[in-house]
Structure formats: structure tokens, C-alpha cells
């Protein structure tokens, strides 16, 4: 009897305790390290293509070679990065250093979870970074993140289709419309355009419009509406189609499958086209000019957690990963445009055909619109959909409604 009871109790306890296996931290780890003071800095990032992973691994290896007292432990977060990071921050288990998308930066910075970097930085060196990129990670004059690289939008076009139709690279809105018109034939459309604010905002900027003024909405102007109307007129006139209406997942697919002659996308198209459309001969050209130049830049920075226990070392990691040596590796990989002016030339020299991507950043603004970034994006996306489904008369009406939505 007694033995039976013992077995029962032991089993129950065993099952109960097994619930918590894995919850605890691995404590043995630090004691296994050599005796000298070696600090481990955790680095949070999202999973990306094998080429990008390789690049980061190489950068980390270089860092560890030159900084023997610091070890970088990479934490790849799969799934929804923003959601996972919030859960980590709430439980104070976030990495010391982590990727911060410029789109999310205002929320994270204003909540005070990011450490300002100013005291760790050499301000002369910071001048080497593209100013408009740094701007995206600034609040009240303080710098909260150093951009690692960026991408901006450009027109990717099918060279064969251009040749056949006798079309040259468009440089103005009128030329773009003309080209799209000529290229629309034999079941192929001139362009793939989607009701995505991240693609039509450049046109609003090119028309002289603005998206935000600090934390306030500034897009409900006739200028911004002009850009919006032009963008959607290309769809309404039948020169452009939504990728979904062509049965394609996104713009990239539409170009790779030769269903359209032009798409507006960024540098991520280059590795994509190599895989998905190796037989498509494509060229890259700057976005057309409206009344002025306008473009969006998508960038990611390394930011430091305020809760980091090794801030000095964490700053070393950030400075190295955005330093000249690391960004030279970015430039040579060609995966994105390095965020330092001194390295851009290296990029364009190695990949001359990608020069339009760099040139197109003149007049660009980062993909972020102040404290109401997500609200503004939601409202603008909806404004685009309303125009597409003819729920409003024109761009101005759509933008007025959008401005009201943000104000709520």
C-alpha cells in the first residue's frame, strides 16, 4: 500500500514539475565561460533570406575577432516580430540590442523602452549617416537607433517589353502614363499597382503634398490629392492592374511572370527576380518626377534596450554593426543600400546598374509619420481602397475622410 502511494505521489509531482521544465533560465552557462570577464550581448533580429543571415553572421564573426571580451548571441525571432518583442519587453527579457523598424520607432521610443545612444556616439562620425534616416530614430534631439541599411523605391521594368514597344525610361508623370499606355497590349499591362499606401505615398510627395507635420496629419491637401488621383487614374484608365486582379501575390510576382511591364518596388526585388524570374531581363530607373522628387525609404536600425545590463558593450556592438567595416560588407553584398554616405559610392561602383536606387533617395522621407504612424497608414490604405472601389468621388474626398479617421 505504502509503496503504491509513494509511486502515485511521485508520479503526480513528476508530472507537475515537468510543466515548468524549460521555464527557468539556463544557469550553468555563465560558469562554463573562461575566467576572464566575458560579456554576452544578445542581439534580436528577425529571420531573413539565407544571404542576409550569412551577412549578419559574418559581421558578428568579425566583431568577435576584434572584441574578444564580448560575445554576441543572436536571437532570431520568427513569426510576428513586433508582437514577440512586445511580450519580451513586458517580461523584461528583451535582447540587449535589437532590430527596430523605422515604422515602429516612434511607439517604442515614446514608451521609453529604448536607450538614447548620444552619450556613446562620436557625433562627427554620426554625420556620415544619411540624415533623413537618422531623423527617423530621433526624438527631442536624441538619437535612439543607428540605421544599418535602407532601401527606397524605384521602377523595375521589363527591358524586352520596353524595346518592343519603343518606350524609353519614363522620367515624368506624363511619360510614365504614356509608357504605361503603350505597354498595355496583348494581355500585358503597363504597370502593376496596388492600393497600398507604401507605394502611392511617393506620388503624394511628388505632387508637393505632405503626409504629416510632426505628430499631426498634413495629407488632406489638394497637392497630396493630386498625387493620389494620378496614381489611381492609371488603374482606372486600364494601364495598370492590381497584382491580386492578375492572380499574383504582389508586384514582384507580376513582373517575374511577365504580366506587367513595370512595377514600383525596392532593392529586395533583385534577389527575388534571380529566383522567381531569372529569364526576365529587367532594368531599374528612378521614380518619375512630379512637381518635385519624392520617395520613401525603408530602414531598420540597431537599438539598445533601456534594461540592458551591459550598455557599454551593447553600444560597442551597435557601433560596430553600423560602422564602416560592417557597412562595407553590406555594400559589397548588394543586399541593401548602406546607411553611410561614405559607403554608398562603394555600392554604386560595384553595382552600377543599381545607381537609380541610390539616386532615387534624393527627396525621400523615411517610412514613418510621427506618433500616429500606424493610424495614418491604416487611414491612407483605406483611402486608396475607397478610390479603387469608387466609394468616393476623388482623392481629396478620400483624404479628408482619412484625416477625420486619424483624428478620432
Amino acid at each position: 500500500m505504502k509503496f503504491k502511494r509513494f509511486v502515485a505521489t511521485a508520479t503526480a509531482l513528476l508530472i507537475a514539475s515537468s510543466l515548468f521544465v524549460g521555464c527557468g533560465k539556463k544557469e550553468g552557462q555563465t560558469t562554463e565561460q573562461p575566467k576572464e570577464e566575458k560579456v554576452t550581448i544578445t542581439l534580436g533580429c528577425w529571420g531573413s533570406s539565407p544571404a542576409e543571415t550569412q551577412l549578419l553572421d559574418d559581421q558578428i564573426k568579425k566583431f568577435e575577432e576584434t572584441h574578444p571580451n564580448i560575445k554576441i548571441e543572436k536571437q532570431v525571432i520568427t513569426g510576428d516580430y513586433n508582437q514577440a518583442m512586445q511580450a519580451k519587453i513586458a517580461s523584461k527579457t528583451e535582447p540587449d540590442v535589437y532590430y527596430l523598424d523605422v515604422f515602429q520607432a516612434p511607439a517604442y521610443i515614446s514608451k521609453g523602452v529604448i536607450e538614447p545612444l548620444d552619450s556613446y556616439l562620436d557625433m562627427e562620425d554620426v554625420k556620415d549617416f544619411e540624415e533623413f534616416l537618422i531623423e527617423g530614430f530621433k526624438k527631442d534631439g536624441k538619437i535612439y537607433g543607428l540605421p544599418k541599411d535602407f532601401n527606397s523605391l524605384a521602377i523595375f521594368y521589363n527591358k524586352d517589353m520596353f524595346e518592343k514597344a519603343g518606350v524609353k525610361e519614363p522620367t515624368t508623370w506624363a511619360e510614365l502614363e504614356e509608357a504605361a499606355k503603350k505597354l498595355t497590349k496583348d494581355g500585358v499591362y503597363g504597370m502593376a499597382l496596388s492600393a497600398d499606401a507604401a507605394r502611392f505615398i511617393p506620388f503624394m510627395l511628388q505632387a508637393g503634398g505632405k503626409i504629416n507635420e510632426g505628430d499631426n496629419v498634413a495629407f488632406n491637401t489638394t497637392e497630396a490629392a493630386k498625387g493620389l488621383d494620378f496614381y489611381f487614374s492609371l488603374i482606372k484608365k486600364g494601364y495598370a492592374k492590381q497584382p491580386k486582379d492578375l492572380g499574383e501575390g504582389w508586384n514582384g510576382d507580376a513582373l517575374a511572370h511577365k504580366k506587367v511591364a513595370m512595377v514600383i518596388e525596392g532593392g529586395w526585388m533583385i534577389p527575388f527576380m534571380k529566383d522567381a524570374g531569372p529569364d526576365v531581363k529587367y532594368g531599374i530607373t528612378k521614380l518619375p518626377k512630379g512637381d518635385k522628387e519624392g520617395n520613401l525609404a525603408f530602414t531598420v536600425a540597431y537599438a539598445m534596450s533601456v534594461n540592458s545590463k551591459h550598455k557599454k558593450e551593447a553600444a560597442e556592438v551597435i557601433k560596430f554593426l553600423t560602422g564602416k567595416e560592417a557597412l562595407k560588407m553590406v555594400a559589397e553584398s548588394g543586399l541593401a543600400i548602406p546607411s553611410r554616405k561614405s559607403m554608398e559610392q562603394l555600392y554604386t561602383e560595384k553595382y552600377p546598374e543599381r545607381t537609380p536606387l541610390v539616386e532615387g533617395t534624393k527627396g525621400a522621407q523615411v517610412f514613418q509619420f510621427g506618433a500616429n504612424t500606424t493610424k495614418i497608414m491604416d487611414a491612407l490604405n483605406k483611402a486608396g481602397e475607397k478610390l479603387l472601389f469608387n466609394k468616393v468621388n476623388d482623392g481629396k474626398a478620400a483624404l479628408d475622410e482619412a484625416a477625420k479617421e486619424v483624428g478620432q
Binding site: 509531482l13 508530472i15 510543466l19 511607439a107 517604442y108 491580386k244 492578375l246
Partner: protein
């Protein structure tokens, strides 16, 4: 006498302790992973809080019923609630009727019924995300559905991209993917009905239809109630399909915005976890009331034996 009673009660106490020890793992996991979060979420629903706040949950600002009141002023929440209700009204009845018919078929003496049982059940054990992706292939502009409709001269259509058809398309998908689950439960209910009742009905001269109407249906009532409740709760909590089909934004024009999708977006994207918790409890209240109403209408236990 007294010593005997003492031993007896001691054995009883021991049994009690053993019993608790055995259920302990479940009790602990329920407390830690279910009851605890539930209580915290309820408290949070009265606060202004985001996961990014450096202060703890307890220090977060108390806002009383503001989160609840705001929800009913929020046009997107109202739209989400309307969508979810329409979705539920569409999916639940159709799903249950089809499930019952399928259960009757696979319960009869047709050939290869094991095959059919498995075939109809497979979608249920398939991940909803995988099912959604598959349906996106079927419903896309040059997908299977449009190719099929083309045979009848109907021009291709972007089903998920249209305000009118996006939600019905998701409804069709949900019916297809979960009908097997309810079929299995109906099947169990059908096989629970004693054969003697059919025999008695047959002797009394009831035909097949009368047998179904006067024997099968009344006896299936508890099963039906169970299915109805589970199906309703499931449909009110729809998330995956809407998330995958709309790419997480509930588009086009909020046509596929469901309550849970909106909750997820407010909590994690707009950093309003307190508001998101309030929405969750509103949803809970709705489901709870609906379940009570159903219990009143269908739930009385009936014994025919």
C-alpha cells in the same frame, strides 16, 4: 467501532490527497496559463496599458469603464462586430445542416463509409492557415474557381479583393474546413440512439421520414445543442482565416475585419492592450449571453428511455 471509523476517514482523507495530487498538474497549468491571465486581462480591461510600458500592470492608469464605452463609439469595432455576427449567422446554420446530412450518410450502410468519414474529417485536422492559403489559390483571379466559372461564361473575379465577396468567401472556407468536426459529433449522437426505438417506430408503421422526424431528431437534441454552442463560439472567435486572407489588415475596406482580428491589431499594433482586453470581455459577454439563450431554447435534457 470508533477506531474503525477513524481508519475509514483516514483512508478517505488519503484518497482525497491522492486525488488532488493526480489532478495537480492540470490544476496548476489551468491556474497559471488560463485563470491567471484571465484575471489579469479583466483588470487590464479597466486600465490604459501597453506591453511597452515600463511600469508594471498594477501601476498602469485606471480608466474605469472608458475602454468599454469607447468600444461602442469605435466605428471599426462596430464594423467588426457586424462582420462577425454576419459570419456567424451564415456559417452556423449551414454548417450544422451539412454536418447532419453528412453524418446521416456516413451512418447509413453505404459502401466505403470509413473512407468518407476520414475524408470529411481531414479538413478539421488541417491547420486553418494551410486551408486559407489553399483557398486563396482557389479563389484568386486566375485560380480554380474562376477557371471553372469561365466554362459558364462568367468573367474572372478577384473574390477576396472585393468588399462584397470577401466575407462570404471566408464563410465558405470555414464551413468546408470545420464541417467534419460537427459531423463526427452528430455521428456519435446518432449511434447513441437505441436501435429498439427505430424498431418500435417501424412496427408502429412509421416510414423512414417519420422515423427521422419523430425519433432521430428529438433524440439528437442534446448533440445538436452541443454542436450549436461550440459552432457559435468558434465562429464568434474567427481569426486565422480573416488574418491570412486579408494579410492581417481586415481589408478590403474592413470587409473581413473580425472582432478577434481587431482585438489583436489594437493590442499589438496600436499598443492599446487595455482596450484590446475590454474588447475580449465584450466578446465574452456576447458569447455567454447567446449560450444562455440557446440553453433556454434547446438545452432541456430529454430522456426517452
Amino acid at each position: 467501532m470508533s477506531s474503525k471509523r477513524g481508519t475509514l476517514s483516514r483512508i478517505k482523507t488519503r484518497e482525497k490527497i491522492d486525488g488532488w495530487l493526480f489532478v495537480l498538474p492540470f490544476v496548476i497549468s489551468t491556474l497559471v496559463f488560463f485563470a491567471g491571465p484571465l484575471v489579469v486581462a479583466f483588470i487590464l480591461s479597466f486600465k490604459e496599458y501597453s506591453f511597452l510600458d515600463q511600469t508594471s500592470i498594477w501601476q498602469a492608469k485606471w480608466v474605469g469603464f472608458d475602454n468599454y464605452l469607447n468600444a461602442f463609439k469605435d466605428p471599426i469595432f462596430k464594423k467588426a462586430l457586424l462582420n462577425t455576427t454576419l459570419y456567424s449567422l451564415g456559417v452556423v446554420p449551414i454548417q450544422l445542416v451539412i454536418a447532419l446530412i453528412l453524418a446521416l450518410i456516413v451512418d447509413s450502410d453505404i459502401k466505403g463509409k470509413t473512407f468518407f468519414r476520414v475524408a470529411y474529417y481531414i479538413p478539421t485536422v488541417t491547420s486553418t492557415v494551410a486551408v486559407s492559403v489553399m483557398f486563396m489559390f482557389i479563389f484568386k483571379t486566375d485560380g480554380l474557381l474562376n477557371k471553372f466559372l469561365k466554362v459558364f461564361g462568367i468573367p474572372p473575379y478577384n473574390w477576396f479583393g472585393d468588399v462584397r465577396f470577401a466575407l462570404p468567401s471566408i464563410m465558405g472556407m470555414a464551413i468546408w474546413s470545420s464541417v467534419g468536426l460537427y459531423m463526427i459529433i452528430f455521428l456519435a449522437g446518432l449511434q447513441d440512439i437505441p436501435h429498439s426505438l427505430y424498431e418500435a417506430a417501424w412496427i408502429d408503421g412509421a416510414n423512414k421520414w417519420q422515423q427521422f422526424w419523430y425519433v432521430t431528431l428529438p433524440l439528437l437534441r442534446p448533440t445538436f445543442f452541443f454542436n450549436l454552442v461550440v459552432s457559435l463560439i468558434g465562429t464568434f472567435q474567427v481569426f486565422d482565416q480573416a488574418y491570412v486572407v486579408s494579410g492581417g489588415n481586415g481589408g478590403p475596406l474592413n470587409a473581413t475585419m473580425t472582432v478577434v482580428l481587431y482585438l489583436y491589431r489594437t493590442g499589438f499594433r496600436d499598443f492599446k492592450m487595455g482596450y484590446a482586453c475590454a474588447i475580449a470581455f465584450i466578446l465574452f459577454a456576447i458569447i455567454f449571453v447567446l449560450t444562455l439563450v440557446q440553453k433556454k431554447l434547446f438545452g432541456e435534457e430529454t430522456q426517452y428511455q
